[in-house]
Symmetry: C2
Subunit: 498 residues, 2 copies
Amino acid sequence: MKLSDQKQQFKNYLKEIDYYREALSLIHWDMRTKIPTKGVEQRSEVAGFLGEKIHQLQTSKQMEAYIKELKPNTDDSILLRTIEVCEEEYERNKKIPHKLYKDFMITQTKSEAIWQQAKENDDFHLFRPYLKKLVDFNREFASYWGYENNIYDALLHKFEPGITVNELDHVFPKLRSSLRSTLEKVQTSAVKPDPSIIQVHFPKQQQVAFTEQLLKQMGYDFTSGRLDETVHPFAIPLNQNDVRLTTRYDENDFRMAVFGTIHEGGHGLYEQNIDPRLARTPLATGASMGIHESQSLFWENFIARSYPFWEKNYDLFLQYAPHSFQNVDLEQFYQTINEVKPSFIRIEADELTYPLHIMIRYELEKALINEEIIVDDLPHLWNEKMNDYLGITPPTDREGVLQDIHWAGGDFGYFPSYALGYMYAAQIYHTLSKDFPVESLIRTGDLTPIKSWLAKSIHQYGKLKEPLEILTDVTNETLNPDYLVQHLEKKFKAIYQF
Amino acid sequence: MKLSDQKQQFKNYLKEIDYYREALSLIHWDMRTKIPTKGVEQRSEVAGFLGEKIHQLQTSKQMEAYIKELKPNTDDSILLRTIEVCEEEYERNKKIPHKLYKDFMITQTKSEAIWQQAKENDDFHLFRPYLKKLVDFNREFASYWGYENNIYDALLHKFEPGITVNELDHVFPKLRSSLRSTLEKVQTSAVKPDPSIIQVHFPKQQQVAFTEQLLKQMGYDFTSGRLDETVHPFAIPLNQNDVRLTTRYDENDFRMAVFGTIHEGGHGLYEQNIDPRLARTPLATGASMGIHESQSLFWENFIARSYPFWEKNYDLFLQYAPHSFQNVDLEQFYQTINEVKPSFIRIEADELTYPLHIMIRYELEKALINEEIIVDDLPHLWNEKMNDYLGITPPTDREGVLQDIHWAGGDFGYFPSYALGYMYAAQIYHTLSKDFPVESLIRTGDLTPIKSWLAKSIHQYGKLKEPLEILTDVTNETLNPDYLVQHLEKKFKAIYQF
């Protein structure tokens, strides 16, 4: 066969995978936003079937042949990178014996259900045997995948290629000591924001209308997406012109929806602005979990929680907000939405203490995978670390070790991405500030240059670049936690006047 | 291979087809209710891909082998009927040369777009060449499929097996003459309902809340379905526990949503109550277009447009309706929702004149397929028949021959199902009335016995029985237009006092 024909065939083969992916993504979106309860069981079969089809195509002899024959004969950079990404997926799957993978899938499905139950009943013992198995599976996988220095690196690689234990053990302690020192100053400050002044009834429909305004301001395109309600918010690209956001509403605390929606909007903007030439290839998505999170946190923390953002938007906010907000002035409002207060639940944590939650998980899962601790010790160690880093002890495991679904889903090595994304975001924001008068743009509400800069510097590439390649190309240096440290210190110094 | 193994393999094969069908149905639902505009293009590719997969599996050599080997060796009635339905689909597809079918698909896709344009611009000439081709395709298909007496029978068979031109030419004239005589009496009556008294602003959210109440009363299960907004309402089964309804709202005329939703609710109840043993087979859907329509029209016309229904529900209605309804009494309300008035648009027609719209289409398409008239004559003949049957002449083709999408979609032989469904519904209602005091049940709002009776007599069987087999089993006679004739005469005699 002619090489050009074979390349075309390969592209068609990838299209087919992507058709299944798009159909499956729609099912996932629907299952988390619209599906009636009794419809779930049969729909899950369909999801399983489509997932299996994708897996088969990604790991087929045909795929192996395409990789082998096209890789040495391709100089088109998009096609070459596409082949590399396919190869990585192929290798990762091929290295795992089929039986092991199947056992893992069964355990994982059961574990999620058991975890749900264990969390509801605050019963770690119920979940413990499953968690043990999942740790063992991950250790086995890591051995098959291989690593250089630390077994945990093999797991990290899946979510954040280029990042290692070595790197994390270098940046996290720096970040931690700074966060804890800032936290101490916050806690001894005389400034005590009173959240009760903004915890007033704010009707859902009004929250929807206001957050839609903010998404439009960010440049999120509603003709290529939509916003729906769900229990655990997420953003999902069905195709590049259909990137959907979800959020949840607390009628007694608008912060959940406002900042949550902007966060998902950051993910959405990323997917909406990937180069259309990457469509129907595995490159048409974010570079990594961490880079994706950098985009959501950029908009949530660096734009939407900033003072200039509310200088611009507080009047608009008041148009949608209940009458009682008329007595809250902009300064009070800004203080309150940035209140720092150690809390048990990661996803409810403030901007300053959030990375500490991540570090606790990182340290525990790294130790588990390295067999330095055992699953039985987790609740106890969790509480110890919470007390050590945040100065509070969860009264129950439900508010402690059982709170997150990740481990139950078999995902180890995922958590660090959240903190990495945060550091990336700070570093990116710092670079942007050198090119643009960012604060004054935010103050005038003209966010288009910011959106365009992100699209040009990051979004358009999709998975065409490695995560650290993007970071370095944009910021001219590799991962540096100092920007986040400085940002948080400066911000909370101003608010808490220390 | 052992026969039992082969049967199991066949069932798995059908499951696979049904997984694709379910995924595709979700895409269809989403495309008509939720999808952002720019997402359509790429999603259409996915829909085309899944549709092609289904077609391949339905017409494969493998399917041929299953039919050939299992049909003579099966005594399980469900499996046997499943094989028959697969065989019919297989044969229908196999008889058409691949090239012809492909050309048809291309023409059909183009035609729908052109029809849309022609309708918008009121330009029949634009659509004419496409319509000619579609008539020719249908004549060719009919020749391949075969027929006994009339070529149009081959097309009818696709939608309503068992029904022939012979049958329709027997029942339609009877029905027509009665409808026209009743219509004349209505038009000369001194009773003149004034629709303006109910055409008042009725906020959408209130209409949603009220119609949901009515659906619950019917027994539609919201844990196995949902209700959304769309432009052209439909009901769609994704699986038996996820049967979705759609509707549209006119804030100045609640009748559109109320009766439209109940209509779709009738379709929905059917699909929700099919025997779960038929799941993942081609039997897990309605017996035919006509039987399906009998269920929607049963609830819309025989239940929801009846006097007892509003004796029960008018107080509830007033709780949701705008204040101005307080001056409309139940008698006036009942008269107005049943106003008879010849109109141009089929889907807006009243209960009495609706079948006349269907007959016009039937007569024209039968004559086209039989080459007794040509496409060029259509606008002229349409208007003539409208004048003849309804006494009005459409001022434009947009309100005449161009109004419906069916022909543009290549569907000939479909329209009669609407009138057949109406006659079935009347006949079924008559039988039900012998078993139950239907009117007093409706008056008390206890619709459960009615719903259960329909589920037991009709719904549970899905496609296990032929449409006329269901009709005969339930009513103890074959198609009889008298019940519809009597129902309409009696109803409008009471309202219009003739």
